[in-house]
Symmetry: C2
Subunit: 292 residues, 2 copies
């Protein structure tokens, strides 16, 4: 438990809406929300109480903790250092916690700007998807300074099942990138395995039952084989979002020199899925391009 | 428990030696062994009792269950339908259980030959590696007829933790192929993830602690990240064996029409590992070629 804090939340999307809800509900904090589309803020306030602000600057100005979950680097710059952005009004010593999946570069840039202006920044991308956000069971990968992390952690806990400090500014984003690299490999391997199994006339359920506890096993196999086998992809983490993440991390790999042949290939495969109309399909839809 | 049976075991390699041991020990069966190199059969008999035979035919002639675990399709044909092969002496109604990882084609061919000659055939490749063989905790993927499977299963149980009938002759081999396809994708994704993480200066242990329970998680991540991070590959399932399996399944995919772009790519990556001298390294050594 933590005492009630003044909290702001910027960005009430599929993830941010329930995350802000947990900060108000389970966290018991005094939450002010901001969203580009005002209708959502009104709906949110009706559901969870708290208040809404007309700009990120207005939402942030009295808050001890300002959370943010927007679409990409540009959106993030817009709501922080842009006109009427939160960084123009942040209190001295307050903490800005960015849950957006963004580049490590923008995290370092905003961390620098925050420090210059006398407040703190944590990059804190999440995994666990919409279901994790709704259940308050997200994994949160944090980059920043230890004492700042310690102060923010009890507040973050309202929507998390696992919170880790991964290193200095940007390290949260870099950890999320590793997460996505691993998912790309697992899902494509699983898609080829199921594809092969169907061509071979095997019962996929039975195959998974036998192999899933051993060296081929994965979260994706356990949790996605049924929907993949049924060709059901209208849920989960969308291909468009995965391609955004893969784009960010492939750029980072160009900077740090990592060779990501498989990841780059899977990114191209996701492009095929987009061409099939799968922009909003779950990442497991890599199988769809093999079966088209 | 099952009553004592007359059992033969052909091929006392890294896998076969302990598997035959469990049939004698835990299974309590009367086991006769055959191995190309006679020194191993003598050592085995000293350790586990039973008896040894000079040829596969001699080993098989009194057995109700003949097990076999050899290197590849050619070795398998040699010890079954070759000169002094087991198929020349198998008893009427006996069961030949092949634990070799081989093609589905040779399984169907030997099943046909066995049926013609009045005995039964099960293809029963295993996963779980040397450790699984030594602990008697293998996963066994079986192809064949249900009544034959039911008779063999209590005997197979001596070295298994999981035994599944996957379909008709060849279905065991096809299931093992799916297992290897999934492993190829998981390991390459994990290798790229760890490679990226090291380049990014992250603490790999900490990263795995945070992401391993979520959508990126896998048996390989849980069980191989430490050794991969340490560059330790002198154990486990060897690259040469993996390439043998990948060769077999890529040929099968040519027959059944499955598209396995990632699997074919990873097969080429394993060739790079062989060029680095990694023929006997564990499959997780895909990371080594990224770090060379």
């Amino acid at each position: 438990m933590t005492s009630m804090a003044k909290v702001a939340f910027i960005g009430l999307g599929v993830m941010g809406y329930p995350m802000a809800g947990h900060l108000a509900g389970k966290g018991g904090h005094d939450v002010t929300v901001y969203n580009r589309t005002a209708a959502k803020t009104e709906k949110w306030v009706q559901e969870f109480g708290g208040s809404h602000a007309a700009t990120p600057a207005e939402a942030a100005k009295r808050a001890d903790f300002v959370f943010c979950c927007v679409g990409n680097d540009d959106d993030l710059r817009s709501v922080t250092t842009g006109a009427d952005g939160a960084f123009s009004s942040m209190k001295n010593g307050a903490i800005f916690i960015d849950n957006t999946t963004a580049s490590a570069e923008v995290a370092r840039e905003l961390d620098h700007a925050a420090t210059e202006a006398g407040f703190h920044f944590l990059d804190a991308p999440v995994s666990g998807g919409q279901a994790g956000a709704e259940n308050g069971q997200l994994t949160v990968m944090v980059g920043g300074e230890q004492p700042v992390f310690e102060r923010a952690r009890p507040v973050i806990d309202a929507y998390a099942k696992m919170v880790g400090l991964m290193g200095p500014a940007g390290a949260g984003q870099l950890t999320k990138m590793i997460n996505q690299i691993c998912i790309a490999g697992v899902v494509q391997g699983l898609a080829e395995g199921i594809h092969f199994g169907k061509k071979a006339g095997l019962d996929i359920e039975k195959v998974v039952e036998v192999i899933s506890k051993g060296a081929a096993g994965s979260w994706q196999m356990e949790n996605r084989h049924k929907t993949m086998n049924a060709g059901k992809y209208d849920f989960g983490f969308a291909v468009d979002w995965m391609r955004k993440d893969l784009g960010i991390l492939l750029e980072e790999a160009d900077r740090n020199g990592a060779s990501l042949a498989l990841t780059a290939l899977v990114d191209q495969f996701y492009k095929d899925v987009q061409k099939l109309g799968g922009n909003r399909w779950d990442t497991s839809s890599l199988l769809a391009r093999l079966e088209r």
